[in-house]
């Protein structure tokens, strides 16, 4: 796959925009999944994932072709999500429809960091509970946990993506695991 990606990148560098579509096809699910697990919202995830691909395209000349493209792409996507989380305004998408909720808006949704009453928790799908608890992780633990346990990346790759020493990545993963243990032990 790396050979195909390299070939397509070279075509894009020569200005063949259509060659980029294949790159998007190959990575769209992984990037979208990363954004969704980081942000916990499909609309935002789609926006950020698209933005990540657009930025990668615009900056493709600065990509070192000898390195792994996915690492570079994940770095762009992760940084976008972290920025989004940090400056997230509470009214973001307040009026936007939430997918799969039949016209509900965020006005009628529960903010992710407030606790739900017990009976509502029971009605939530297990998947939603897990996603909610991932969303409840502090951002610096959330990114390492998502990259490690959802994207299944190695600690070395995570350290490259986050531009962070390996030791810091390990410490954050340990703390993230402890936080998840607290949050999910009664599920």
């Amino acid at each position: 796959m790396d050979a195909i990606i390299k070939k397509r990148i070279k075509q894009v560098l020569k200005g063949d925009q259509n060659a980029y579509a294949e790159i998007v096809e190959l990575y769209k699910d992984k990037v979208y999944q990363l954004c969704y697990r980081m942000l916990g919202n499909r609309h935002e995830a789609e926006d950020m994932a698209q933005e990540a691909f657009i930025r990668a395209y615009v900056n493709i000349a600065s990509f070192n072709i000898e390195l792994k493209f996915s690492t570079w792409l994940y770095r762009i996507a992760t940084n976008l999500c972290i920025d989004r989380i940090r400056k997230k305004k509470p009214d973001y998408y307040l009026d936007a429809e939430v997918s799969g909720t039949d016209g509900l808006t965020m006005y009628s949704q529960i903010p992710s960091d407030t606790r739900l009453p017990e009976d509502e928790v029971e009605n939530m799908e297990l998947q939603d509970i897990i996603q909610r608890e991932i969303s409840n992780l502090p951002e610096k633990y959330r990114s390492v946990i998502v990259l490690k346990y959802i994207e299944e990346l190695s600690l070395n790759e995570i350290s490259e993506i986050l531009d962070m020493p390996l030791g810091t990545v390990k410490t954050r993963i340990h703390r993230g695991r402890e936080a998840l243990r607290h949050q999910l032990r009664n599920v």
Binding site: D16, Q127, I130, H174, Q183, R185
Partner: protein, 219 residues
């Protein structure tokens, strides 16, 4: 019961698959006899199993299309280059039209004086170029804004632009004889030459690429 911190550290080393054999055995021995640490370890493993169990979700169907539509517009130059690559035959024609038409038309309109290719044994009489009887003119003869009378022999093509070609009974032209009098013929004549040059250019380029590939293979 308060256990040494190191057992928690061992658990994380174990989960990172970075624990030494000795530490792993020590942790195992401790977990067998310590309920608190055993529970702690199970809770860690359970929470990770839950996180890993979330169904992998896919990007929306129209995702790629939307990204492609949102990309900044391709540079014009590149689009034209691709079009040229895909339409080599039309490229020759359009290259000719775009680059040559202007100068060509002005050439047609302004060049009224007689001009002729330079062979020493051609005789010029007013607006007529004569190949004298018994003479052999080597190479192509091109007469512009005048007529050509062939009494001897031309060892090549004879082209008369905006004039007439008279062939005496003894006259002989080994190559093609061509009279060009209308502007369309004039354009066509140049177009054929341009097309030949374009084809040669592409062939040269291909040969050059093949050669460089050959070099690359041997390197």
């Amino acid at each position: 019961m308060k256990c040494p911190e190191k057992y928690i550290a061992y658990m994380h080393e174990y989960l990172d698959e970075e624990i030494s054999k000795e530490d792993a055995l020590e942790l195992k021995a401790h977990l067998i006899k310590c309920g608190d640490c055993h529970r702690h370890f199970q809770e860690l493993e359970k929470s990770l199993a839950l996180v890993k169990s979330v169904a992998h979700i896919s990007a929306p169907d129209d995702f790629t299309m939307r990204v492609m539509n949102a990309l900044p517009k391709e540079k014009k130059k590149v689009g034209v280059q691709r079009w040229f690559r895909q339409h080599p035959m039309l490229t020759a024609a359009s290259l000719f039209i775009v680059l040559m038409m202007g100068s060509l038309l002005s050439t047609w309109n302004t060049e009224k004086a007689l001009s002729v290719s330079k062979q020493p044994n051609l005789v010029i009489d007013h607006d007529t170029v004569i190949v004298p009887e018994g003479e052999v003119v080597k190479g192509d003869v091109v007469v512009r804004n005048g007529s050509l009378r062939v009494e001897g022999q031309i060892d090549g093509n004879a082209t008369v632009i905006n004039g007439e070609n008279y062939m005496a009974s003894a006259g002989q032209v080994t190559g093609d004889v061509e009279e060009i009098n209308a502007i369309f013929e004039w354009i066509w004549y140049h177009m054929k030459n341009t097309a030949k040059e374009v084809v040669n250019f592409f062939e040269d380029k291909e040969n050059a690429e093949e050669q460089s590939l050959g070099v690359a293979v041997f390197l």
